[in-house]
Symmetry: C2
Subunit: 223 residues, 2 copies
Amino acid sequence: MSHTLGVRQAQKLKTRQALLDAALELLEGQSLSSLGLREVTRAAGIAPTAFYRHFRSVEDLGVALVEEALGSLHPMIHTTVSTTDDGEERIARAIGLIASHVDAHPAHVRFVARERHGGVRPVREAIQDQLARFTAEVGQGLAEDPRSAGWSEDDLLMLAQLYVDQMLVTASLFLEAPATAPAERERVSRLAARQLRLIGIGRRHWLDVDGPSRAPAGDTPGT
Amino acid sequence: MSHTLGVRQAQKLKTRQALLDAALELLEGQSLSSLGLREVTRAAGIAPTAFYRHFRSVEDLGVALVEEALGSLHPMIHTTVSTTDDGEERIARAIGLIASHVDAHPAHVRFVARERHGGVRPVREAIQDQLARFTAEVGQGLAEDPRSAGWSEDDLLMLAQLYVDQMLVTASLFLEAPATAPAERERVSRLAARQLRLIGIGRRHWLDVDGPSRAPAGDTPGT
DNA sequence: CATTTCGGAGAACAGTTGTTGACTGCATGG
DNA sequence: CCATGCAGTCAACAACTGTTCTCCGAAATG
């Protein structure tokens, strides 16, 4: 398959990428809903009208950006969650992975964090879709872990969601820590590590029936 | 103090509030960075130029909105965190409080969620400031709890941050659940309750030295 | 080699934007 | 009661927006 992609289609992909790159750079200082079509084409070095050869609208470009930012992240998720490390080493590895990903693709991370609750519906939904996929994948990874014996599927998903949200919070913190301040980076790393550690402890004792307080699982007492 | 606020200043506050309200409504479908000055004045029913009598710019208005959305929330935080309930009841109460607040002020919640990572720097920073205050207050509340004996101040703050982030995640989930679907609301409530429960369990066992795994607190082993 | 396809450029369109200066009318304080 | 202060209006500005239609040149197809 794939006959080396003729000159014509190659050029098209190239300018399409130029549009995506230009948009991503412009989005570091504003939200997608204020990004103008002309603004993007100007930064990409093409005529405004040529934009329509690649995207129907800026919204459309935004959806494409979501795919670019999150689509390639799934394998990473899978390999991270399915390693059989001890808890403490897995935490360090996960945080290191987040940190290096933020370093490698800061604009992508910023875009996702910003538009996750942003003003453009289709983009918001595309992000939620990807995050839901992440949650499902993490949940599946957790299910394969022997430490999850006795867990209901619902509980696994709620833990997965906790992990995914925590991942985004941590990524966002790394983003705010300027590259010039490694001390700040360290502070964030240690904070995230302790939060993951606490969640891990909660996970380990989830099925306990502990001492003086009431039952940890099962139905709620009141209502 | 306060001599009933003369007719003139009362009118000024009234149109200022009209501007804030109009902006907040317009912001349900877009981000602040794309909100136009004329757009706001049009919706508020005043001339564009009158805007400058109240705010220097739309950014300025955004900062004012942050104060309106989060400023009045501090007492609620304090009373919630400092009740001496048992864990399970406290969880139910906290989630109920979040749900009813989202119901009462959906536009404010949406605004905060959207602009927390949004494209307008001063607004972003105003929100982060308020959230940092929340974290500090929750941390202080936790410190007064007898269950926090033996905790370092740093660890208390990391737990507080976990709670605050979790609060925002939950509020955002309630926001997405349409008012017409009470079943969805219930699902979110139960999800949030279990997540808080898990965090609570982690909190209870934070200082344990549990079984086969390595020390839960103290310095990190490697590096 | 002839024809078709198609990414891109250019000009033009009706609207909209933020900001200015000079103005009006009315509540305020002496 | 009169003079000042000030919220709000109005007209005008240059600049910018998204979208349309027409055209060009070169790659692709046969």
